[in-house]
């Protein structure tokens, strides 16, 4: 049994079949990005074990394929087992061993990157301090209550759990959350008193001033899905009411986008836009057992034990043009645990590496751009956590060293044979 398994996993035939599947998957997954969107296609084809049904040039084809994880893992096992089977500790083969080990490291590194890496963003205006980063894609329904005078307790429910009909409970919440509707993507509209509106879906909070309707899921890289849910909060013995929670109200980026569209597209005055936005962002609360719980559907947050304060955002352009010359964020890094308190400059190609994360300069509204938009200069940092970020470098060095070593062994052997001849 072990013999057969060993033979199967170490066979070159398996390598060829897997490589062939790999080529097909890369082709299909790349073509599908046109129909399914970059993020979706990457996730469905390369970050899954199996692919059920593929999309080619607008047509759905109901066939199955091994996914990226399966092919990668089997290739890795194949390589490791073959390595063990054919391993000979001789100086003659040291280059080949090194090359194989390098390829194994590359595969393992890619797999762990896929599994454990995380990309988030920090958005702040000059003078603001953040000790958390937010997801660009995922949302969470957060219930926030005061824990003591200085801290608050957050119960964060990932938006993926908000499916229609779900009942969500947690020991820290004295009530259950019933999901009556959940729309992955939605559009808001202000319930202007002058317009003929249907009655609001609920008379609590946000729904009094805004209507939301489902929108088609977006697959483009330039837009994002902004979810909305209708939830009922029910304590044992009584319903506390039904509320609408929406990414449009809890995501600062979307709130700002909406404010701008009120001013530029709907030709509202700044004051009126600010007043309407005030209604959108008014906190929604429920009081249970003398405790107030504020709740909001917001981008999923990752808190860190340190904080960054944006001191200055610099955005300079080449004179007379809009072509950016330099994006630069000067931040203060404070970590109470270690006592660190220092200023750091983050700019293009010069990220800050700290606490296992890398902070890249991502976007910026500063300089002339901010002045024209009437906003305080602000900056967005891309925060990447990738525990295996060094493996591609190490893997490539090992492969290169292995190939050079093997080549040199052959070269030296060849030259010395010639000399002898």
């Amino acid at each position: 049994m072990f013999d057969r398994l060993f033979r199967f996993f170490s066979s070159l035939r398996l390598t060829v079949v897997l490589l062939a599947f790999g080529i097909v998957l890369v082709f299909v997954g790349t073509v599908a990005q046109a129909d399914e969107g970059l993020y979706n296609a990457q996730s469905r084809y390369f970050k899954h074990w199996f692919v059920q049904g593929i999309t080619m040039f607008g047509h759905h084809i109901p066939i199955g394929l091994p996914g990226g994880y399966l092919i990668g893992t089997l290739l890795l096992i194949n390589l490791v087992v073959a390595h063990i089977k054919r391993f000979q500790l001789t100086t003659k083969k040291i280059g080949i061993q090194l090359t194989h080990a390098g390829v194994i490291l590359l595969l393992v590194g890619q797999l762990t990157t896929d599994l454990f890496s995380r990309e988030t963003q920090i958005r702040f205006s000059e003078g603001e301090t953040r000790s958390y980063a937010e997801s660009g894609m995922n949302y969470e329904l957060a219930f926030i209550t005061d824990a003591d005078a200085d801290t608050e307790e957050v119960v964060a429910i990932p938006a993926r759990l908000l499916v229609k009909g779900a009942e969500l409970k947690h020991e820290k919440l004295p009530f259950a959350v019933h999901v009556k509707h959940y729309w992955l993507n939605s559009d808001p509209s202000f319930r202007a008193p002058m317009m003929q509106n249907e009655p609001p879906v609920t008379t609590n909070g946000l729904a009094r001033s805004f209507d939301f309707r489902p929108a088609a899921e977006t697959k483009s890289m330039e837009s994002k899905n902004v979810p909305t849910a209708l939830i009922e909060i029910a304590a044992p013995g009584a319903s506390l009411g039904t509320w609408v929670v929406s990414g449009w109200a809890g995501d600062d980026l979307m709130v700002e986008a909406l404010r701008e569209s009120f001013i530029s597209r709907q030709k509202m005055g700044e004051e009126m836009a600010a007043s309407i936005i005030g209604r959108l962002t008014e906190p929604q609360m429920v009081e249970v057992g003398g405790k107030q719980f504020a709740f909001v559907l917001r981008p999923a947050r990752v808190y860190e034990p340190y904080s960054l304060t944006l001191l200055k955002a610099t955005h300079s352009v080449y004179r007379g043009t809009d072509i950016p010359k330099d994006f630069r964020s000067r931040v203060r890094l404070e970590n109470h645990r270690t006592g660190e308190n220092r200023e750091v400059e983050i700019f293009m190609n010069s990220p800050l590496r700290y606490g296992g994360q890398t902070f890249y300069q991502y976007q910026m509204v500063a300089g002339e751009l901010a002045r024209r938009a009437g906003q305080a200069p602000s900056s967005i940092l891309q925060v990447v956590r990738n525990p295996s970020w060094l493996t591609p470098y190490a893997g490539c060095i090992m492969v290169a060293a292995g190939l050079v070593t093997q080549f040199m062994i052959h070269l030296v052997g060849f030259v010395s044979r010639r000399k002898t001849a």
Binding site: W49, I77, F116, H170, M194, G237, T242
Partner: protein
């Protein structure tokens, strides 16, 4: 040979273990997380809420504002009759007089009017420096409301990017008697320009000596401690058991023909409304169809309790947890901004037999601060 075999077994096992580890790692499920973080500082907001000042007519009583209104007044009349004045704003202006008047009519359950009819219905009044349309809605009645106001006067106008509504609604006699006082009140209004400073200011200010307490975030009238426990006389045979979170009390009733339980809870405000709660019991606990607003009047009956009226509902279905026949008798007591729920649920025979004792129990309750 043995060494070689061990190597082989090791390799296959290692490969299997690795595959398992990777599979497990990739099957991480997203879960609800709990964490504590330092409180976020309240974001400074530009205060764009309009502010007004006024002179309160004699006899009127200022009340705390609510989320929907900037100011509220109780306007008393003879023999306990009264009316209510509320000041509301909506962002935006530019709607025609006709559409503003029709919005008010629609809210009062009246049909829209045409331009010609408009002139007969409205008169012009001054709200401070602004000119407003005063709409008189006699006979207005909301079908869904129990205490239907039968006369409404609304002054409506647009100013500073905001549409303002001053609404006096209530008993026809009181509204008629107070019309001049209402117009005097409207004339006394002055507008305070938004300061535009980054403060979280009160939304209104009164020139009266007696200042209305400003409720945090507009949540007015909610008891500071809703768990102030009342006292009651529980019938013999009811066994009080430790209450769970959110319940004020829980009793178990056991007998040879089955068992039932009684729970007492209270929530601020209307706790989502009577219909929502009745339907939650019907659908989630008894497996019945949801009732409509019109069904509600047939389902509910009135019950006298100390200090007012309560609503009683009696329904039978199947307990959604056990699948067995079940009867639910509940009394809803709205009281001083709180809603109290008393629920008897259990085997039909036990619930039926205990109904009278249950009602007596509810009537025996002595609420805090009474």
């Amino acid at each position: 040979m043995i060494k070689r075999l061990l190597t082989k077994i090791g390799a296959a096992r290692c490969a299997g273990l690795f595959l398992l580890a990777v599979l497990l790692a990739s099957c991480r499920r997203e879960e609800i997380t709990v964490y504590r973080v330092p409180k976020e500082k309240e974001p400074a907001r530009v205060d764009t809420q309009p502010q007004i000042e006024w002179q309160t007519p004699p006899g009127w009583e200022e009340q705390a504002p609510s989320k929907m209104s900037l100011a509220n007044f109780s306007v008393p009349g003879d023999a306990g009759r009264q009316a209510q004045l509320s000041v509301m704003t909506f962002p935006g202006e530019g709607a025609s007089e006709l559409s503003l008047v029709n919005i008010v009519r629609e809210n009062a359950g009246l049909p829209p009017v045409s331009d010609e009819e408009l002139a007969k219905l409205v008169e012009t009044v001054n709200v401070g420096p602004a000119s407003a349309k005063l709409v008189d809605l006699t006979g207005a009645m909301k079908a869904s409301s129990n205490a239907a106001p039968n006369r409404i006067l609304v002054a409506v106008f647009a100013r500073g990017g905001t549409t303002w509504f001053f609404k006096l609604a209530g008993d026809a006699g009181v509204v008629t008697a107070q019309k001049q006082a209402f117009i005097g009140f409207l004339n006394s209004v002055t507008f305070v320009e938004p300061r535009g400073t980054r403060v979280r200011a009160a939304h209104f200010a009164s020139t009266n000596a007696k200042r209305v307490p400003i409720a945090p975030d507009g949540d007015a009238g909610v008891s500071d401690n809703p768990l102030d426990k009342p006292s009651w006389d529980a019938p013999a045979g009811w066994r009080e058991v430790p209450r769970t979170q959110m319940l004020l009390a829980k009793f178990l009733i056991s007998s040879s023909d089955g068992k039932a339980e009684v729970t007492v809870s209270t929530f601020p405000g209307d706790a989502g409304g009577v219909l929502a709660n009745v339907n939650r019991w019907r659908v989630q606990q008894l497996g019945l169809n949801a009732a409509s607003e019109s069904d509600l009047s047939q389902l509910m009956s009135s019950l006298d309790v100390p200090g007012g009226k309560a609503m009683l509902v009696d329904m039978s279905g199947r307990n959604q947890k056990t699948g067995e026949k079940s009867r639910l008798i509940s009394v809803i007591v709205p009281r001083e901004g709180q809603t109290w729920f008393y629920k008897l649920m259990g085997d039909p025979a036990v619930a039926g037999r205990e109904k009278t004792a249950f009602i007596k129990f509810v009537q025996s309750v002595r609420y805090p601060n009474v």
